[in-house]
């Protein structure tokens, strides 16, 4: 007889038993495969979003707060023979005036045909008053083609708004346009350079038109580029080309030809330090000059208002000058009646954060008095301040500082008419730098003697010594980075595998349990085969092959069910669980390899279970198998018993010690420790139970009650009973722990140490708020002074460097999240927010002040939400993030601590002083924390007055709950799948019960013959199994209560008790149902026949 015939016969004969193994294999394979497909689908969808977002864009130059020539795009295109497009990208507010619907965070892109051609899209040319909007804009504003839309676009400023004397222009430019086309995802409607899966609100407009409106004609702030024909262009290649073709204008420089000199000026007024450093290094004959507007030059009570004072070297001044000396012109000397040796007072403003002005005074001794004009007193020394340089008279001055026109005398007007901004005094460059150097640059002009070169050569010479990277200008491989971010983000495959843990375990448990029972029912066969000369390996092989058929079929069906399981999860993710993914663009993507891996894994797990069970069963004496066909009780090892006892007691002692220690010290700080020991309690309890089962077999007593008998019966099949208890307890434990970890608000949001910091609103504006809203001047700027309600409102204004969102709302893996610059003192004084982790050396009482420190050159500390550090950045406290500051220097940001879940999720927090130093061009604040007692009124006032700044006020508790909703949704998924797993596990309880009863038919029949009524026997069986159910639930609940002790004893604790109770009840009911069904089924059969047969 052939072995395969034997196997096939056995397979067919025991087909019912195989069906149960099949079910177990199907469940575990389906869940495994389904979870893996979820991972692939999410990755695939994110990759698709990258394509929709970038089209053919491979590289992008984002100039930040600077502007480059739009023509630069063509220059690079011609040099590399690639497609490029210059863009003018700004924030804007889009308003449907008719319905009053608005989008505060829209993105406007000034584009030309190059943009569409870059991605081989053909969209119509746009006339000046026409735009193309993305689908979500049309949807949100309820607009269609040919409808009108009002745009309020952030003003583009070549000069940083916070720079000294920067003209205060309108923060936005408004105009009406017509929607010409609606761009869908295939037509770059989703275009965006930020690595996030959610779709931006995009508006595309003619670049020329937008530039004209914003008065930045010919300029762009983004250049995108495709790859070359060979697809082998690297970012080094494109940056090399950029360096080759860029011009002075791209660095914001212009050269003015003076009589004897060439003068280098910046359209940003103050020349960036890397530029002056480079020129100083490479051109020996140069003169760097700093010219500043001072409020007054005073001698005794005589003063000259609003004058320019220049600082220059002794060489330029043709005389040596001490630091406290000043050279004045004759006009000034006459005006204030000054003579050599007099001490002048010089008043001037220093511009602080949020345009706060501080007037300072310095004294200088008059060293010399020179003619009013000519020689060193050159009218060209006045920088090209907009609002000053082009003013016809003093009364037309329009600067960033308050000008008291009453102070301006006729003679001042006359000076302006005659000499314009000719400086009235000179101080040494050293003094000038000490007084007026600022983060935007130290000098206002650099002069080079004409003798050294002609203009063209000079231009070439200068540009050749400058490196765009020094101005933080370079192309990034945005597509490669986006693909990396999409592929290395949250692994949903792993996530759903772990969340489906209980379902997989339930499937495996079912397979093992059923197979184990099947094998036991075939013990006699196993014994006979051994007796007939089949060695163990042969028997394992036979059983293995017999089950391969089942498992293979189970694996294949399981994989197909896996697709269904995946469909269910993806549907849930796109709908009810959308909080996790923040997009409805997830599509199912089935990779053959994943299907194979899932199927293979499911099959391997089942076969491994089968192998291990068969091997274990074969370790029993053959003769025992042959004789009674049932398991011979495993010999109980006394030593092993002692070990169990010691381990169980040790577990309980550790649990008790940790709980006592935590109660005496801090429950909150030891929350993780308590959670760990709660699982130790669970383990200890199962060990203890094992011990009780062992002992019950040998415990002698003179009386035998129902419960004792039931317990002894449960102990008879200890392995089965323990497996059921372990599953039930672990499931219950997990469900309660998960439920208790759901984040909720219960009056805790007003506490300063909470995640809201005690602030009521998180406000974000589209246009920057340049002034301090806590000050009268600031309130005045925004017409808020008439609102008494705001007197008690406190604002914390935060600088913001745009970056990717690293919060749990983003599925991509982010390297450089958004940076927020805030005032550490403000948060320190309020004692706002709490920390989950801090570096050891940080002052735990005043941790916020740590942010003011500097750890070394360009090394600064930062905080972020602990969840962002762990999951968004995949880093640890103590790790360093590397950014490039505006000078193109590497800025090392050390993650010095992690905040407890807070409203700052997604961002990195640094001190505003570091922020201003490294990112000086970022003007004003776009993020504001509002502390107000009167929520509604404050919200109403701010929404109304700052409407044109695109303010969006979110209650901090709402913002936090948005982040919590992600965590809570994950927990819901976990609870749902965990509950499902445990419910499947209770099927195992039913199977064990049925099997036990079938095995004990004769015992039950004997009880019947001894006068037990059927009801009593049912009672006995039910008690025996309810014992398992209750012990499982008790251990699970007990361990969970220890685990959530810190939460239980906290005032703000709230568990979604209904949800948890419902799940525990479902498990209990499901368990009871299986107990009832199995008992009923077995008692129905004719038991006396069993007894007779015996």
């Amino acid at each position: 007889m052939a072995i395969f015939k034997f196997i096939l016969r056995s397979f067919w004969y025991f087909r019912k038993q195989h069906l149960a193994v099949l079910a177990g294999t199907i469940i575990s394979t389906a869940v495994l495969t389904g979870a893996l497909i979820v991972g692939d689908s999410v990755k695939f969808s994110l990759r698709q979003i990258v394509d929709a977002r970038l089209g053919s864009t491979k590289f992008a130059l984002q100039t930040g707060e600077r502007f480059v020539r739009s023509e630069l795009s063509n220059d690079i295109s011609n040099d590399l023979k690639i497609k490029t497009a210059p863009l003018l990208h700004l924030n804007c507010i889009a308003i449907n005036s008719e319905s009053n619907l608005r989008i505060n965070k829209a993105q406007i892109y000034g584009v030309d045909q190059n943009f569409w051609q870059l991605s081989n899209k053909t969209l119509p040319d746009l006339n000046d008053d026409e735009i193309i909007v993305s689908e979500n804009v049309a949807e949100k504003l309820d607009l269609k083609i040919n409808d009108e839309i009002l745009l309020r676009v952030e003003n583009a400023n070549v000069i940083p708004l916070n720079a000294p004397f920067a003209k205060e222009s309108d923060p936005s430019v408004s105009f009406r346009v017509i929607i010409k086309e609606i761009a869908n995802d295939q037509n770059l409607g989703r275009f965006g350079l930020k690595n996030i899966q959610s779709a931006p609100y995009n508006i595309f407009i003619s670049r020329d038109y937008l530039a004209k409106k914003l008065e930045v004609e010919g300029l762009s702030n983004v250049i995108i580029a495709s790859n070359n024909l060979n697809n082998d262009l690297t970012s080094d290649d494109i940056n090399y080309s950029f360096e080759k073709v860029w011009k002075l204008k791209d660095a914001g420089l212009l050269i003015r030809e003076l009589e004897d000199d060439f003068e280098i000026l910046s359209d940003r007024i103050f020349i960036d330090n890397p530029i002056t450093e480079s020129i100083n290094k490479n051109f020996k004959e140069n003169e760097s000059i700093l010219t500043y507007l001072v409020n007054s030059l005073r001698l005794n009570n005589r003063e000259t208002p609003y004058s320019f004072v220049s600082a220059a070297s002794s060489k330029y001044l043709n005389r040596s000058l001490a630091k406290n000396e000043i050279i004045i012109n004759q006009w000034l000397a006459d005006d204030i009646v000054a003579k050599k040796g007099d001490t002048l007072e010089l008043d001037y403003y220093i511009i602080g954060p949020l345009r706060t002005l501080e007037e300072k005074t310095n004294n200088f001794i008059v060293k010399d008095i020179l003619p009013t004009q000519g020689g060193i007193f050159d009218r060209n020394l006045m920088p090209l301040f907009p609002g000053l340089a082009d003013a016809g008279s003093c009364s037309e001055w329009d600067t960033g500082i308050p000008i008291d026109l009453d102070r301006i005398r006729d003679k001042d007007e006359k000076y302006w008419d005659e000499y314009k901004g000719t400086p009235k005094a000179f101080i040494t460059i050293e003094s000038g730098l000490e007084l007026w150097q600022n983060k935007y640059g130290n000098y206002t002009s650099v002069r080079l003697n004409k003798n050294i070169s002609n203009l063209d050569s000079l231009k070439k010479g200068i540009i050749s010594v400058l490196d765009p990277k020094d101005l933080n200008l370079f192309f990034l491989p945005v597509q490669a980075e986006a693909i990396r971010a999409a592929s290395s983000g949250v692994d949903f495959g792993e996530l759903f595998l772990s969340m489906s843990f209980f379902v997989i375990v339930a499937g495996i448990l079912l397979t093992v349990l059923i197979y184990s029972l099947n094998t036991e029912s075939r013990n006699a066969e196993t014994g006979i085969l051994s007796g007939l000369g089949f060695h163990k390996k042969k028997i394992i092989k036979i059983r293995f092959i017999e089950n391969i058929i089942t498992v293979l079929i189970g694996g294949i069906i399981g994989a197909l069910f896996g697709i269904l399981y995946n469909r269910g999860i993806m549907h849930a993710l796109n709908n009810v669980w959308q909080d996790i993914v923040r997009t409805n663009m997830l599509s199912i993507y089935i990779k053959h390899s994943t299907l194979l891996i899932g199927t293979f894994s499911g099959i391997v797990i089942s076969l491994l279970s089968i192998y291990l069970v068969t091997r274990k069963k074969l370790q029993q004496p053959i003769i025992g198998l042959i004789r009674n066909g049932s398991m011979i009780s495993k010999k109980i090892n006394i030593r092993e018993n002692h070990l169990y006892k010691i381990l169980a007691i040790l577990s309980y002692v550790i649990v008790a010690l940790v709980v006592i220690y935590s109660l005496l010290t801090s429950l909150d700080q030891n929350a993780n420790l308590i959670l760990s020991v709660s699982s130790l309690f669970l383990l200890g309890s199962i060990l203890w139970l094992n011990l009780l089962f062992n002992n019950s077999k040998f415990k002698h007593s003179n009386s035998l009650g129902f419960n004792q008998l039931a317990f002894k019966n449960a102990a008879k099949n200890k392995g089965r009973s323990l497996a059921i208890i372990a599953l039930l307890s672990l499931g219950t434990f997990t469900i309660i722990i998960t439920g208790a970890n759901r984040k909720t608000f219960y009056e805790s949001e007003n506490k300063r140490e909470s995640g809201t910091g005690g602030f009521q609103f998180w406000a974000e504006t589209t246009l920057p708020i340049l002034n301090d809203l806590n000050s009268e001047e600031g309130k005045n700027k925004y017409n808020l002074t008439d609102e008494p309600e705001l007197e008690h409102v406190n604002f914390v204004q935060i600088h913001q460097l745009d970056g990717d969102d690293a919060s749990c709302l983003n599925l991509n893996q982010i390297n450089n999240p958004k940076i927020l610059g805030l005032n550490p003192e403000e948060l320190n004084n309020r004692k706002s927010f709490s920390f989950a982790r801090l570096l050891d050396n940080i002052n735990k009482i005043e941790p916020w002040l740590e942010l003011n420190k500097t750890y070394g050159k360009n090394i600064i500390p930062a905080y972020a939400d602990q969840t962002v550090i762990t999951w968004g950045l995949m880093k640890n406290v103590g790790d360093t993030l590397i950014y490039l500051n505006e000078k193109g220097e590497e800025l090392y940001i050390v993650l010095a601590g992690g905040l407890q879940a807070s409203i700052f999720q997604g961002s990195i927090l640094i001190a505003d002083k570091h922020f201003s130093k490294h990112f000086p061009s970022v003007s004003g604040s776009k993020t504001i924390l509002v502390d107000s007692k009167s929520k509604e009124k404050t919200s109403e006032i701010l929404s109304s007055y700052l409407r044109n700044y695109g303010i969006e006020l979110t209650q901090t508790s709402e913002r936090l709950s948005q982040f919590y909703s992600v965590t809570n949704t994950y927990l819901t998924v976990f609870m749902f799948l965990g509950g499902l797993g445990v419910i499947i596990g209770t099927i195992g309880l039913g199977i064990v019960l049925l099997r036990n009863i079938l095995e004990r038919k004769s015992e039950i029949a004997l009880l019947l013959s001894l006068g037990f009524s059927k009801l009593k026997i049912i009672k006995l069986i039910v008690i025996e199994n309810i014992i398992l159910l209750l012990i499982g639930l008790k251990i699970g609940i007990g361990a969970a209560l220890i685990g959530i002790l810190p939460s239980l004893l906290s005032e703000s604790f709230n568990i979604p008790s209904l949800y948890v109770i419902a799940l525990v009840l479902i498990i209990t009911i499901s368990g009871l149902l299986w107990i009832y069904l199995s008992t009923r089924f077995s008692i129905k059969s004719n038991l006396i026949v069993s007894l007779r047969n015996e």
């Binding site: 006699a524 051994s530 042969k538 042959i626």
Partner: protein, 229 residues
């Protein structure tokens, strides 16, 4: 000698609260081809233990077991299985025919571990011939569930003989049969012993069956004593 026991003892270690006990004490005997013995004794006297040691299903605590002059103590599980497969035939009290197989298939189960295809053909012929000799030729495609107890037990005998073993070990072979069937089986075993020159050990409570063997041994308190010739 087909089988030889030298000073074989077997004791069980204490288990939980049950104290250790000696089941077999220094058993000595040997069998050559054609010998047949029966072992009688009260329940729990160690008869089946002795049979299991003879059948390599169990190991003695002390002493030597030789099969065909070879000490089997050093044999691996695989080698022992080979000995059981090719040199020993088992007959149990319960027939233990596999319910999933037909009669002929059950009989041929011991041929599965042998890979020689020619042997399988020869074994099939032998099975048919043996089944005919025990009066089961017309039932070869029936399942054990469709046959009587006596028929099943006869089928077990055929299964035990299929690989032409030198030693047949029968553990209460008539224990679950009615008197007629038991008589028939006893005759069959006796005939096999005579005609096929097979050594046979039968553990039994049945005096009728015991008498059909050449010698009767009694096992009492672990000691084996011959009570007739």
């Amino acid at each position: 000698m087909i089988v030889e026991l030298e000073n074989v003892s077997k004791s069980y270690e204490n288990q939980g609260v049950i104290a250790s006990r000696d089941v077999l004490k220094e058993i000595n005997f040997s069998l050559k081809a054609g010998d047949s013995i029966s072992i009688v004794g009260p329940s729990g006297s160690g008869k089946s233990t002795l049979l299991n040691i003879l059948g390599t299903l169990d190991q003695p605590t002390n002493g030597i077991v030789k099969i065909k002059e070879n000490d089997i103590q050093q044999y691996s599980e695989k080698q022992l299985a080979e000995i059981r497969n090719q040199h020993i035939g088992f007959i149990f009290q319960l027939h233990h025919l596999l319910p999933q197989l037909s009669l002929i298939e059950n009989v041929l189960v011991p041929t599965i571990p042998i890979s020689d295809k020619n042997y399988k053909k020869i074994a099939l012929d032998r099975a048919m011939s043996l089944l005919e000799s025990v009066g089961l030729a017309d039932k070869i495609h029936q399942r054990p569930g469709q046959m009587s107890g006596g028929e099943c037990q006869r089928a077990t005998v055929v299964r035990a003989l299929i690989n032409e073993p030198e030693l047949i070990l029968a553990d209460e072979p008539t224990g679950s049969l009615d008197q007629d069937s038991a008589e028939q089986l006893g005759e069959l075993l006796s005939e096999i012993n005579r005609k096929q020159n097979v050594a046979m050990v039968a553990v039994t409570h049945s005096l009728d069956l015991a008498k059909k063997m050449d010698s009767i041994y009694k096992l009492d308190y672990g000691k084996l004593t011959k009570i007739n010739d």
